[in-house]
């Protein structure tokens, strides 16, 4: 189902709905919920930090009081789960990662369908069609629009241009080139980590998935786990080898925090990590001039980058769903997304990306331009498949991480590790 179909409903009422939408947009009143209070459960990530700087603007514009309950990502999910299982109306709005929990939360009935709101209750300046199609579709489960996209992100290869030049290494075009580059850098700069990426079990599927897809693999085939396919075994082998032979000591505990610290400190020549970390990596300015950014080099299956995004959702149990939608609409409006882009939040709207202020911001530093070009690549060719496309996606990530960790730590060879993981993954698929 396309986004337009989703918003205007079935074809028979499309015209009247469109006309009605236009009329409603003209009557839209930002003060319609003046005096109401809504609660926002936030993940303490760059998007939330950035948008909450403008909290007073939202309250002044709408008269709605915004109560914020902010946690780190995992703690936020625990709080959400407690509240939602109790079917409590305590939380009106929450942040969600559709690629991870979208299917699960949708099946549990936790999301308010935002398609109706996006159709009937929008300000004239809110351009729903301006949101990226792929991201809107990624947030749609069983025809329910579970959230409005907040950003676009994915893992990118941050590399040191100066080290590449010193060691005579070209920017890799293929995964084989990447491994060769790591080998050369290891000899040329033995005190430096040649390649770093996520090694922490539950966190690594985010980066590993790009290797899997680039090598032509997928997580499932014919309703069963495909982690032992030739492509998947090659991906596990390549990823684990890169981390084991060229990665930093203790890489098995590495997530975004350690990767950013290592690269920012000038200790890594290549770091495959989230596009969201650009601001953190550039903090202090030491890496501004010597860093280049590209998507992961292609493999046998071409270039299929991991492209995901956070979304903003309204709770199915909210008593203030209409007021909550006003916050969602304000926070995801073209105006706000253009403002947030200047804080390094890659906008999910093409319009915001074309904004002159954003273009000027990108032009200020070469690395920002490269970052933006790599993200454009992700938007055009990426997939949001991180882990198994099943309701228990979060648990599937555990077994993917387990297989990669087993090879990385030398506990098993690839065939044993993928077979052990497959057994658990097939049982998980069967449980669905």
């Amino acid at each position: 189902m396309t986004k337009r179909q989703l918003v205007t409903g079935v074809a028979g009422v499309a015209l009247s709905a469109a006309l009605g939408t236009q009329a409603l947009a003209q009557d839209f009143d930002w003060k319609a919920h003046d005096g109401e209070t809504i609660t926002f459960l936030a993940n303490n990530n760059p998007w939330a930090t950035s948008v909450l700087k403008y909290k007073d603007d939202f309250e002044a514009k709408t008269g709605i009081t915004l109560a914020v309950d902010s946690y780190q990502e995992q703690q936020m999910r625990q709080r959400l789960m407690t509240v939602m299982n109790a079917r409590s109306d305590e939380i009106d709005i929450f942040m969600t990662l559709p690629s991870r929990e979208g299917m699960q939360f949708a099946a549990a009935g936790w999301y308010n369908d935002l398609a109706e709101h996006a159709k009937d209750d929008v300000s004239p300046e809110y351009d729903f069609d301006g949101l990226g199609d792929a991201l809107v579709e990624a947030a749609t489960f069983d025809n329910v629009l579970t959230g409005i996209p907040l950003n676009i992100e994915g893992p990118l290869l941050y590399y040191r241009k100066d080290v590449f030049a010193e060691c005579g290494v070209e920017v890799p075009d293929t995964l084989a080139d990447l491994q060769a580059a790591a080998e050369t850098i290891k000899s040329c700069k033995p005190d430096m980590t040649a390649f770093a990426s996520r090694g922490l079990k539950p966190a690594l599927p985010y980066t590993f998935s790009n290797f899997l897809h680039n090598m032509g693999g997928s997580y499932m085939a014919d309703g069963r786990s495909a982690l032992c396919s030739d492509a998947a075994q090659s991906a596990i082998d390549t990823y684990a080898t890169l981390l084991r032979d060229y990665g930093p000591p203790g890489v098995v505990n590495y997530s975004f925090y350690q990767l950013t610290s290592l690269y920012r400190a000038g200790q890594a020549a290549m770091s495959f990590q989230s596009s969201n970390e650009l601001s953190a990596v550039m903090e202090g300015g030491e890496r501004l001039e010597d860093t280049g950014i590209v998507p992961l080099p292609a493999g046998d299956g071409g270039s299929v980058p991991t492209t995901i995004g956070w979304a903003l959702s309204v709770s199915a149990f909210s008593d203030n769903a209409d007021a909550a939608w006003y916050f969602v609409q304000w926070a995801t409006s073209p105006e706000m997304q253009a403002k947030l882009a200047l804080d390094g939040i890659a906008p999910p709207r093409a319009g915001a990306a074309d904004d002159p202020d954003y273009q000027a911001w990108l032009a200020e530093q070469t690395v920002r331009g490269e970052w933006n070009a790599a993200l454009a690549d992700l938007a055009a060719t990426g997939t949001s498949e991180v882990g198994y496309p099943i309701v228990q996606n979060p648990e599937s990530r555990e077994y993917i991480g387990q297989a990669v960790n087993a090879v990385l730590l030398g506990d098993s060879d690839v065939a044993e590790a993928c077979a052990a993981a497959n057994e658990q993954l097939d049982a998980l698929i069967a449980r669905q």
Partner: protein, 288 residues
């Protein structure tokens, strides 16, 4: 008559807070027991499953690994904390003229929130950027991967916990030392007993009830070891620090298997309760 009326009035006044307190304690336990008799669907829906979750534990390798890690960490941490706590208490007891600031510094780690302590140790023990490896290599020793080593992760966690909680044990033991009867020491002094004998034959035997009290208090925390692991390793690498508590939390909150997580938590609670009962009996046996 007047007394009976007063008692009734007191009872009526106390009843709401009594009911509230009992409810606050009993409800979560009873609810967890109830949940443990259910299986969860992928979306968190519960259906009655009898003892199915408990039967599943028997064949679950991660459960048994979790039991092993829980007890390994428990015994290692407890031994280190009792040893260093007693040593620190003796030091503070004998150093009568130690400035108050120094005494406060000694006990400061356990006042630090575990999350802050965890973050601090992540930075210190980072294999590439941390100061710990810098110090090791400065004196010619090989660097370690600390929390990232399946072999060393539990000893490293035990060391961090010992750094944080030894002062707490020391304070308890210090209280015990201050209550020891001085007459026994005077008699030993007259008999010319050396310091080592006074320590092993008088101080430590008389301190046993205090040490067992410290063991009870630390056992409850150590068997439920959670925050530090959650911050630093999340049970890794490769489940090497996956205690029963971490396994239960991840099973419930990340994988939506509330029924099985409930069974794991009830089992852990039973282990903690058993340890407390056993240690209380030991305390009664060594009381003087």
């Amino acid at each position: 008559m007047q007394n009976a009326t007063s008692r009734r009035q007191l009872g009526a006044l106390a009843a709401p807070s009594l009911i509230f307190t009992v409810g606050m304690i009993a409800f979560p336990i009873l609810y967890t027991i109830w949940v443990s008799f259910h299986a969860s669907s992928a979306t968190g829906q519960l259906r009655f499953n009898g003892l199915g979750s408990y039967a599943r534990m028997i064949g679950d390798d991660r459960f048994w690994a979790g039991i092993w890690v829980t007890f390994y960490l428990y015994f290692l941490s407890l031994s280190l904390q009792l040893f260093f706590g007693t040593w620190l208490a003796l030091l503070l007891f004998n150093a009568k003229r130690l400035p108050g600031v120094v005494r406060s510094l000694f006990i400061s780690p356990f006042m630090m929130p575990p999350v802050v302590a965890g973050m601090m140790w992540i930075v210190i023990l980072d294999p590439s950027l941390g100061v710990a490896n810098y110090l090791l290599t400065s004196v010619g020793l090989p660097p370690s991967t600390w929390l990232a080593s399946p072999r060393w992760v539990v000893p490293t966690l035990a060391l961090i916990d010992t750094w944080q909680w030894t002062p707490y044990v020391a304070l308890i033991v210090l209280g015990g030392l201050q209550s020891l009867p001085p007459g026994v020491y005077e008699a030993a002094e007259i008999d010319g007993a050396p310091r080592w004998k006074k320590l092993t034959r008088i101080t430590l035997p008389l301190l046993l009830p205090t040490l067992v009290t410290a063991m009870v208090l630390r056992s409850v925390d150590l068997l439920r070891f959670f925050d530090l692991i959650y911050i630093t390793t999340q049970g890794g690498p490769a489940d090497a620090s996956l205690t029963l508590n971490i396994y239960g939390i991840r099973t419930g909150f990340e994988f939506f298997q509330l029924g099985y997580a409930g069974a794991l938590m009830i089992t852990l609670s039973a282990i903690v309760l058993g340890a407390v009962i056993a240690l209380n009996r030991l305390r009664a046996a060594v009381a003087w």
